[in-house]
Structures are given as structure tokens and as C-alpha cells.
């Protein structure tokens, strides 16, 4: 066919206005949807800030350092809850980091057959999928009764230390720490595993080539190379542990009396919110909002730090 016969086929065709409109409105729609994320964040900040204004004016910064929580008298101080949040998450981290990193090494290095390693990896990931309320139920009826003889033994052996000075009576800080360990282990393991897998094979080969033993290579070459990714994962886990609510609420005992003892019942900011927010009114709501603000700032700082650390890693070996 000669080209001259159908000039309209190659003629410049303008897009019909309907098509243009559809194109433009779809683009605008995605922009609007994307800005919703920012709106929600600002909304969260405004809600929590606005809600806590009354308590801020009334208690000021003393709210953070006093520990009386008296809805009848109208005095509020969140020190017990802030201390509980920090101590439970830091202790949980202390236990979960060696466990998680050790597990990650065990399932990335060629120690046992690949199939078994894959199954173990899937199992740890599935642990992360179990709802925290189910873990809380398990903690109340299975884990805590199982741990109690050990904790009682700890009390009778080391009761002269302020950290073990009370008789364990069921719910308390120590069981809460244990259930937090279970909850953050999968995060630490998964992220450590990813960072270990990203270590360039040449580093590993070089280490083995000069005669390093397996653990010589792991401890001196592979782990240092992956350390920033692992640190990022640990920070993410810390953020998760600080914000974790249900399992902790069910097992920590929800007491506002400050005690140094890890065997005594305690409180965290999130467990306090879960317990009291629904029934609170007046200044108590505002005090709880203030506590929520503290929790938000804590997790925000930890998460932003984690992102920075992870970003630094991705630059290192690309």
C-alpha cells in the first residue's frame, strides 16, 4: 500500500479532551492520595498535642519525673510508665540481640543444610505474624506460670539486690520483658539476616582464603561488615518494643506504684493507655494524651535514627 493513500493514519492526532481530562485527574488523584500520609501524620500530632495541652499547662515537665497517678485527687505523673517503657524495652533488647543475631548467623552461614536453614527462617518469620494479643494470652496462662519458680528462686537468691527485692506474684516487669523478647526476635533476626546476605562474597572468600576459621571470619570480617544494617534493625526493634501494647498490658500487672524490682508489677506508657483511655475523662484524658505524646516522640527519635543508619549501610557496598 502506498503511503499517500491514507494520510489521516500518520496525521498528527490531538488527544480527545476526555482522555486528557482522565489522564490529568488520575495524576491529581494519586497526588491527593499520597498527601494523605502527611495529613494523617499531622493529624496524629495535632490530636495528641491538642489533647495534652491541659495536662502540659497543669503539670509541666514535672509530669515526666513524678510518679503519683491519682485520678481522684487529680495529680498525674508518668515517671513509672516512662521508666517501665524504657526498662522493659532495653532489657528485652539486651536479651534479644544476641539471640537474634546468633540465629541470623546460624541460618545464613553454611553450617547446616540449606533446606533446614530455610525452614528455620520461615519459622522465625511466622513468629512475627502471631498477633500480640495471642502471645499475651499464652504469656498469662503458659509462660508466666512456667517462669515463676525460676523468678522465685532468683528472689530468694538475690533478694538483697533492689532489682529482685519483691516476691514474684504473677504479672510483673520480668514476664513482660520475656514476651517482648519473643516479639522483637523476628525483627532482629530478619534484618540481621538481610544485612548478612548483603555482605559481598569476596570479603568472605578473602577471609577463608587466608585461613580464617568459620567463626574467625564471622566475628572479625562478616559481622563488622554488616554491623550498620544490624544496628538499624536493632533500633527498629527498640521502637517496636517501646510501642508494643497488648501482650505487655496483659502480663505487666498495670501498677502505677514505682518499684525498682523487676519482679514487681509495673506499667508502660502503652499499657497505661490501653487500660485507662477508654474510661478516663477530664484531666485524666489530657494526662494520658501527654503520656502518648512522650511515647510518640520516643519512638519517632528511635525510628528516624534507625532509618539514617540503614541508609548509611545501603551506600556502603553499592
Amino acid at each position: 500500500m502506498a503511503t499517500g493513500q491514507r494520510p489521516d493514519l500518520f496525521a498528527h492526532r490531538r488527544r480527545p479532551p476526555g482522555e486528557k481530562l482522565l489522564d490529568l485527574s488520575f495524576q491529581r488523584l494519586t497526588v491527593v492520595l499520597a498527601s494523605l500520609v502527611g495529613l494523617v501524620l499531622v493529624g496524629i500530632l495535632i490530636t495528641v498535642l491538642g489533647g495534652s495541652r491541659e495536662a502540659m499547662g497543669q503539670f509541666g515537665l514535672g509530669f515526666l519525673t513524678t510518679s503519683d497517678w491519682d485520678p481522684v485527687g487529680g495529680h498525674y505523673g508518668a515517671f513509672t510508665a516512662i521508666y517501665g517503657t524504657l526498662i522493659t524495652s532495653l532489657l528485652a533488647l539486651l536479651i534479644a540481640v544476641p539471640l537474634g543475631v546468633g540465629t541470623a548467623v546460624f541460618i545464613t552461614e553454611n553450617i547446616i543444610p540449606l533446606q533446614i536453614r530455610q525452614v528455620l527462617g520461615v519459622m522465625v518469620e511466622l513468629l512475627a505474624a502471631i498477633p500480640s494479643v495471642v502471645l499475651g494470652l499464652w504469656a498469662i496462662f503458659v509462660m508466666e506460670p512456667f517462669l515463676r519458680p525460676g523468678l522465685t528462686g532468683l528472689h530468694s537468691l538475690l533478694g538483697w539486690l533492689p532489682f529482685f527485692s519483691t516476691e514474684p506474684q504473677g504479672p510483673g516487669i520480668a514476664p513482660a520483658v520475656m514476651i517482648l523478647v519473643v516479639m522483637i526476635l523476628p525483627i532482629i533476626t530478619a534484618i540481621s539476616r538481610d544485612s548478612l546476605n548483603q555482605v559481598p562474597p569476596s570479603l568472605r572468600q578473602a577471609a577463608y582464603g587466608i585461613g580464617a576459621t568459620r567463626w574467625g571470619a564471622i566475628l572479625n570480617v562478616i559481622l563488622p561488615a554488616a554491623i550498620s544494617g544490624i544496628t538499624g534493625g536493632v533500633m527498629l526493634a527498640l521502637g517496636r518494643a517501646m510501642g508494643e501494647t497488648m501482650a505487655v498490658t496483659m502480663i505487666i500487672g498495670n501498677s502505677n506504684n514505682f518499684s525498682l524490682s523487676l519482679l514487681a508489677p509495673g506499667n508502660t506508657i502503652s499499657s497505661m493507655l490501653a487500660n485507662q483511655f477508654g474510661e478516663a475523662d477530664g484531666v485524666q484524658v489530657s494526662a494520658l494524651m501527654y503520656a502518648a505524646l512522650v511515647l510518640m516522640l520516643l519512638t519517632l527519635v528511635v525510628n528516624v535514627l534507625a532509618q539514617q543508619i540503614v541508609r548509611r549501610l545501603s551506600l556502603k557496598y553499592n
Binding site: V40, L99, M123, A129, P131, V134, V304
Partner: protein, 293 residues
């Protein structure tokens, strides 16, 4: 030329470094066993204490009044499905739309960086804070037809939790689609809208579906955002603007009750919830495998 002493190149297990090697390997094996143990124990107990109670009656009846025997978790099962459905209906369009913006329209400017940063921050916001937010936004202000606690409020709270996951997976899935597909579509005269809806989104469907299924599974098990938004109800769901029961809140409420019947219902609900969530995770895993081949 000096000759090697005999045995210099053979493995000697007695050497300190080989001893340490074995010690650390053993230690790592013990750590792995300890890390896997909770999953096994939780599954075994949920199976024993909850699985044995499962019957059609349990899944279809209302929970008993405190102190009475029998009953079931029918309303909570239905409630979880409804609230999760509301959350998905909000979170999937918003999340996929934002992901499309990030991957297809944005040119890495300040707004796109802000959205990515905001997504990461939102993913780290504790779930209880989402509950507080929706309480302040909707429940306390009685925003919907003068109702306070409602299924819709619970659904919105869960949607806030789901959105970051959906955005991230959509963004990453679309980035993996080959640019040749986009150029080909635009080259034959398709508009940007047609390119995205007919070519790139279908090509990225499997990984996006994986992320969505994981987000739904996580939302179905969440409790903290629901306890003061959707609240709980001992009755069958009554419209979307009234308090509604859910499995997770049922477990939380019944676990601390002093009645045997309620506690066994909490175990039964745990069993159903865990089975649903593990099934969703295995489905997501399968979808993920599908997208790699």
C-alpha cells in the same frame, strides 16, 4: 628449601581456634533453638487449648453472659471480617494510589521524599497511638451521625496501620517493572493513565498482592487500635455505626475474666485467628514465589 612439618596442613581439633569454632557453632545452634521454641510452644498450646473446642456451634453462637457455660464467638468472627474489610477498602486504594504516585509520577522531588519519609514514620507509629488518634478524631467528636464508638472508626484505625505497608510494596513492585514495558505502551500511543492501569499495575500485581495480604493479616490480629474505637459488643453486629465485636478484643477482654468458659473462648478465638493469619501468610509467600518466576 625447608619442608613443612608433617601434619601442618591437617585439621587439628585440639587447637584453641578450632575449639572456639565448635563452641560458637554450638552456641548459635542453641540460640536458634531458643528463637524457634516460642513459635512451636505457642502453636502447640493454641492447638491443644483452642483447637479442641472448635465446632460449628462455637463459630456461630454469641458469647455467654459472665458465669454461664457454652456459647461461641460468632459475632466476633463476623466483626473481625467486617472491620478488616472496611480497613482494606480504605487502605488499598489509598496505599496503591500513593505507591503509583511515588513510582510513576514523582521525579524524586521534595514532596516525594516527604511522602517516603512520612510512610516510614507512620509505619513506626505505635498502634495504640493510631487508636488514640482515631478516638480524638472520630469517636470523641461523634463525627459519624452522632455515634461515638463504631465499626467504621475501628476500620479507619486499622487502615492507618495498613497504609504504609501497602504504599511501600506498591512503590517497590512498580519500580521492578521493566521500563521497556512503559516505553512500549507510550510508544503505541497509550496515555499515561492507560499505561499505568493496563500495563504496569497488572505487571506488578503479584508482589502488590503479597504486600496487601500481609497487611490484611496483620490488621486482622491488631487489638490496640480497636479497644477504644470499635470497642466490643456481646451482640451480633448492628450496622456500621455501632460498637462491634472483634476476635482480638474478645481475646483481650476474656483472658482477664475469672470465668473458665470465657477463658476457653479466648483460646478458641486465638486458634481461629492464628489459623487465619498463618494461612494468609502462606498465601502471601506463595504469591511472592509466583511473582519471582
Amino acid at each position: 628449601m625447608t619442608s613443612f612439618p608433617r601434619g601442618a596442613l591437617t585439621y587439628r581439633p585440639g587447637l584453641a581456634r578450632n575449639r572456639y569454632n565448635q563452641l560458637f557453632t554450638g552456641l548459635a545452634a542453641v540460640f536458634t533453638a531458643l528463637a524457634v521454641l516460642p513459635l512451636v510452644l505457642v502453636l502447640v498450646y493454641v492447638l491443644i487449648k483452642g483447637g479442641s473446642l472448635i465446632s460449628l456451634r462455637l463459630l456461630s453462637e454469641l458469647p455467654p453472659a459472665p458465669g454461664l457455660e457454652g456459647g461461641g464467638i460468632g459475632n466476633a468472627l463476623l466483626g473481625t471480617l467486617i472491620v478488616t474489610l472496611i480497613a482494606s477498602l480504605i487502605a488499598i486504594p489509598v496505599g496503591v494510589g500513593s505507591g503509583v504516585y511515588l513510582a510513576e509520577y514523582s521525579r524524586g522531588g521534595a514532596f516525594a521524599r516527604f511522602v517516603r519519609f512520612g510512610t516510614n514514620v507512620l509505619a513506626g507509629v505505635p498502634s495504640i497511638i493510631c487508636g488514640v488518634f482515631v478516638y480524638g478524631l472520630i469517636v470523641a467528636t461523634r463525627a459519624f451521625a452522632g455515634q461515638s464508638y463504631s465499626a467504621v472508626a475501628g476500620g479507619i484505625a486499622l487502615a492507618v496501620l495498613m497504609v504504609p505497608t501497602v504504599i511501600k510494596t506498591t512503590d517497590e513492585a512498580l519500580k521492578l517493572v521493566a521500563n521497556e514495558l512503559r516505553w512500549g505502551a507510550l510508544g503505541v500511543g497509550a496515555s499515561k493513565f492507560v499505561t499505568i492501569t493496563r500495563i504496569t499495575l497488572p505487571a506488578a500485581l503479584a508482589p502488590i498482592a503479597t504486600g496487601v495480604v500481609l497487611a490484611i493479616a496483620r490488621a486482622a490480629g491488631e487489638t490496640a487500635p480497636l479497644i477504644f474505637t470499635a470497642l466490643f459488643s456481646p451482640f451480633w453486629p448492628d450496622g456500621l455505626l455501632n460498637p462491634i465485636a472483634s476476635m482480638s478484643v474478645l481475646i483481650y477482654n476474656f483472658a482477664i475474666m475469672p470465668y473458665e468458659a470465657q477463658i476457653s473462648l479466648a483460646w478458641a478465638a486465638s486458634f481461629v485467628l492464628v489459623v487465619m493469619i498463618l494461612a494468609a501468610n502462606l498465601l502471601a509467600r506463595w504469591l511472592g514465589k509466583l511473582s519471582r518466576t
